[in-house]
């Protein structure tokens, strides 16, 4: 696994599975309670709201590069942490699920940052959150929730494959 300790990789894989489970729970509740089941119906709204999708090029199988992948993974998670925070007030039914997803995403970002520090590759200044989309109605927060959860799932699937590759003894 190169410079990455096995326990760190196992923890990352565990955290990814947890965040994916949280994301699935959020999607299921959005569908069941608000009939918002299809992210593809919200593409236009996503553009209008300006929901960013962080790059993960260094984790793709074509250009797999460990340190670059870790950096992109951390800044992507950090961005999702901000997006999930911007969805606060989504709805009483969804709030607990959204909180758990946000807490687990934050923990995962911290775990990676800690490892980058241990490897001496963490930037001197911790990242700060950019401007987030402004969700101006309950519907926009829920639609945003569908889009963010769906994007996060694909983001993690790519990262999971990459880290599984690094975790192979």
């Amino acid at each position: 696994t190169g410079p990455l300790p096995q326990s760190f990789l196992l923890k990352c894989l565990e955290q990814m599975r947890k965040v994916q489970a949280d994301g699935t729970a959020l999607q299921e509740t959005l569908c069941a309670t608000h009939q918002l089941c299809h992210p593809e119906e919200l593409v236009l709204l996503g553009h209008a709201l300006g929901i960013p999708q962080p790059p993960l090029s260094s984790c793709s199988s074509q250009a797999l590069q460990l340190m670059g992948c870790l950096r992109q993974l951390h800044s992507g998670l950090f961005l999702y942490q901000g997006l999930l925070q911007a969805l606060a007030g989504i709805s009483p039914e969804l709030a607990p699920t959204l909180d758990t997803l946000q807490l687990d995403t934050t923990d995962f970002a911290i775990n990676i940052w800690q490892q980058m520090e241990d490897l001496g590759m963490a930037p001197a200044v911790p990242p700060t959150q950019g401007t987030m989309p402004a969700f101006t109605s309950a519907f926009q927060r829920r639609a945003g929730g569908v889009l963010v959860a769906s994007n996060l799932q694909s983001f993690l699937e790519l990262a999971y494959r990459a880290l599984r590759h690094f975790a192979k003894p």
Binding site: H34, Q35, L36, E40, E41, L42, V43, L44, L45, A48, T136, S137, F139, R142, A143
Partner: protein, 308 residues
């Protein structure tokens, strides 16, 4: 923002029609030769009605749902975009009825919790979130002649915990020996209503805990009980010792279908009673209950069975 749904009101009467509009902003309507809107009520498409252009260049598409038949409806406005439908906005419409007047309001003064516990029946479901509040005037006012006319200004609100149809008014808000007016208010998005007012004196609806009952073993000093008789002793519930009470005893052979035999009234000064007329070698179940007396009060539950 591409499109926004306008609702006249988020809550309507069940069965009434609803007209809503979807306003498509100018920066969105350039997306195709001709803006096409699809409405969905829940998952079913609903044909739109009119469409008109507003001064600011945006377009208003209107839809009318003839009859809202379910308490919660999700209304969505989609834009046809190439081969896909893009959801622009979604609104939740609640449909129901104004609240029915709560009824069968009744109260009991509970000396264990030292509070007046009132309960009521909410009446038919209005299908809308409805808040029930028990209301009573805050203070007895000298000169209010002790009847139940209430001054509207100082009203105490007792809010039941979620979904409960009972509420407890703590001792510090009660004048135990004065008339108090009490009623329940029900409120939802379509209206407010009140139960008839109850006029009561808390102590007159006091419900005691059952007394403690036991059989006295034959003792050398006292004369032995007559054959077929039993010497019983009881003690009113301790916190109610200051209240004059009368009690009732009931007994029933434990086997067979015989109904209860009732003995009473037994005044709370006596505390002892010789029960006769019992069948020999028959197991009996005995129970006792008490009520405030001669002043008004509610009967306690029957005490747990004493089996002999």
């Amino acid at each position: 923002e591409c499109g926004r749904i306008n609702l006249p009101t988020p809550t309507v009467h069940l069965g009434d029609p609803l007209t809503a509009s979807c306003i498509i902003s100018p920066n969105c309507s350039h997306l195709g030769p001709e803006t096409q809107i699809v409405w969905k009520v829940g998952r079913e498409s609903q044909p739109g009605k009119r469409q008109q252009r507003l001064e600011d260049g945006s377009q208003e598409f209107t839809v009318t749902i003839p009859r809202l038949s379910s308490p919660r409806v999700l209304l969505s406005c989609y834009l046809r975009w190439g081969h896909s439908l893009q959801m622009l906005d979604q609104a939740e419409v609640q449909a129901g009825y104004p609240p029915a007047a709560p009824h069968n309001l009744s109260c009991l003064m509970n000396l264990t919790t030292n509070s007046l516990i009132c309960q009521w029946e909410p009446g038919p479901n209005s299908h809308l979130p409805t808040n029930f509040t028990l209301k009573t005037p805050f203070f007895w006012v000298p000169g209010s002649r002790g009847n139940c006319q209430t001054q509207e200004d100082s009203i105490l609100d007792c809010v039941p915990s979620d979904g409960q149809n009972h509420c407890s008014i703590p001792r510090r808000h009660l004048q135990l020996y004065q008339n108090m007016g009490i009623w329940v208010q029900a409120e939802n998005a379509l209206g407010t209503t009140k139960s008839p007012q109850l006029c009561l004196v808390p102590m007159d609806v006091v419900k005691l805990e059952p007394p403690t009952l036991w059989a006295l073993p034959p003792s050398p000093e006292a004369a032995p009980p007559q054959p077929g008789c039993l010497l019983l002793r009881w003690e009113p519930w301790k916190p109610s010792l200051y209240i004059e009470q009368k009690c009732e005893l009931r007994h029933q052979p434990r086997l067979g279908e015989a109904s209860w035999d009732l003995v009473g009234p037994l005044l709370s000064q006596t505390l002892q009673y010789e029960l006769c007329g019992l069948l020999p070698s028959t197991a009996y179940a005995l129970q006792m209950r008490c009520t405030r007396w001669p002043l008004p009060g509610q009967w306690s539950d029957w005490s747990p069975s004493l089996t002999l």
